[in-house]
Symmetry: C2
Subunit: 242 residues, 2 copies
DNA sequence: TAGTGGTCTAGACCACCTG
DNA sequence: AGGTGGTCTAGACCACTAG
């Protein structure tokens, strides 16, 4: 049972995506929307601020709220999609494109130095080291490396890695929500290994996203690094001034 | 006069940056902080949610709020810094490094097709086309192209472009706040022209940020594109799950 | 002046975590 | 059980925009 303001946000987002509100159209005011949904203005405001941050509407003080003109191109936005956060590839794009995975390698290893540091592990901690290729409509678009702490997730079936969502598996297994994807975005180039996995030229541009994931009890359990084809992926920003 | 929750956010951020709160330390609870600042819990919550999104603290339901371990490296974060938004280079980094600018070119031209489209201009609109190189401690790190609508900003003194902050000039001139920097991040490669301006190798990796800027009355007035050395810049993300 | 979003209060109940 | 953050109410005043 999601919070009311999430439900309202999604309801209005659907109204926008389905065209019931046209681009540029003025939305009803907060004071009009509140009684429609049976909540107070503060709750409506929380919904609308989220919609603004997600880029669907624009709020202008003294004028009102307006449907933003959302750009539609032939690229994918890493932080777009139906969910409320950036929590993994399958979950983001599963609904709008035909996503498949190919498991490249899976090993249980002693955590390497940079993983120990990133996840605050002890020196002999064991981690699942996983490399997968993700494809959209049979076209390989990114490589994702994951290092998952074995103490938290004992086993990971290959079937999950080969087509399912790793994050959904983990949430089902632990009965906890995945909470953080505190990540860093940078640009780099594809080396020989990665380029061959994606069938692109060596030294072609890459959008690299690294980050850690926690369960909602605060336990760090995953460090991941995704190597995305720069011609396929962008990141949308909605840093709102003020 | 900033809003109270902004003041409180900055006050606590200062406490973190100055080390009065140690990394990992538990912060006072919302119910403790509220009377300290003479506000209600809702106001404290707004401050703390901002601090969370900016990556300074972590909130854990039922446990408390904790100072996040902020990574310090030899790179700059495009969305780091003291301000509340990503509103231009000078403003972000001016306080922590020696920033200079070099004006490469400035012309008043008829808006090219992609600018007309991005800014919803009429076909014969005039724009200032500006290219600047930015340097940190005399090292060139990025090229920024700006297209600014002449109807909104009639003249732009070369002195502003050569060392001042263009955005501050515009806010002073218009007596309005700059409101949106709705941007898109992608990876690309430096071509000959840009590489020579930054003294890097052709085809070295680039973090490209494009976006538009509005005044707070909603008027689009600027399209900009910055070409950032990938070895110098990252973008921090704080997509918080839930 | 009327309507809009922006901020804030005082209080309530819920969900979660720890002892 | 007691403390924490998460959500929500009902109402107020302010700042901004428009006719």
């Amino acid at each position: 049972m999601a919070a009311r303001y999430i439900e309202i946000k999604n309801s209005i987002k659907d109204d926008i995506l389905s065209g019931r509100y046209q681009v540029g159209e003025k939305l009803p005011s907060e004071r009009e929307l509140a009684p429609v949904y049976g909540v107070t203005r503060v709750t409506i405001q929380k919904s609308m601020h989220m919609l603004e941050q997600e880029g669907f509407i624009e709020r202008i003080h003294g004028k009102g709220m307006f449907v933003a003109n959302t750009l539609a191109e032939n690229v994918y936005f890493l932080n777009d999609g139906p969910s409320d956060a950036f929590l993994g590839f399958s979950r983001e794009f599963g609904s709008k494109a035909n996503i498949t995975s190919r498991l490249v390698s899976q090993q249980l290893i002693t955590a390497p130095e940079h993983i120990i540091k990133a996840l605050n592990l002890t020196r002999d901690a064991q981690v699942h080291a996983i490399r997968r290729v993700r494809l959209i409509d049979t076209v390989p678009v990114l490589v994702e490396d994951s290092w998952i702490v074995q103490a938290v997730i004992p086993v990971i079936p290959a079937s999950v890695l080969d087509k399912g969502s790793l994050y959904e598996y983990i949430e089902r297994l632990t009965h906890k929500k995945i909470k953080f994807y505190n990540s860093v975005i940078e640009a780099s180039l594809f080396d020989e290994t990665l380029a061959s996995l994606l069938d692109v030229a060596v030294n072609s541009p890459m959008l690299k996203v690294t980050g850690t994931t926690k369960l909602d009890d605060g336990s760090l359990f995953n460090y991941s690094c995704s190597y995305n084809r720069a011609d396929k992926f962008r990141v949308k920003n909605n840093w709102v001034g003020k």
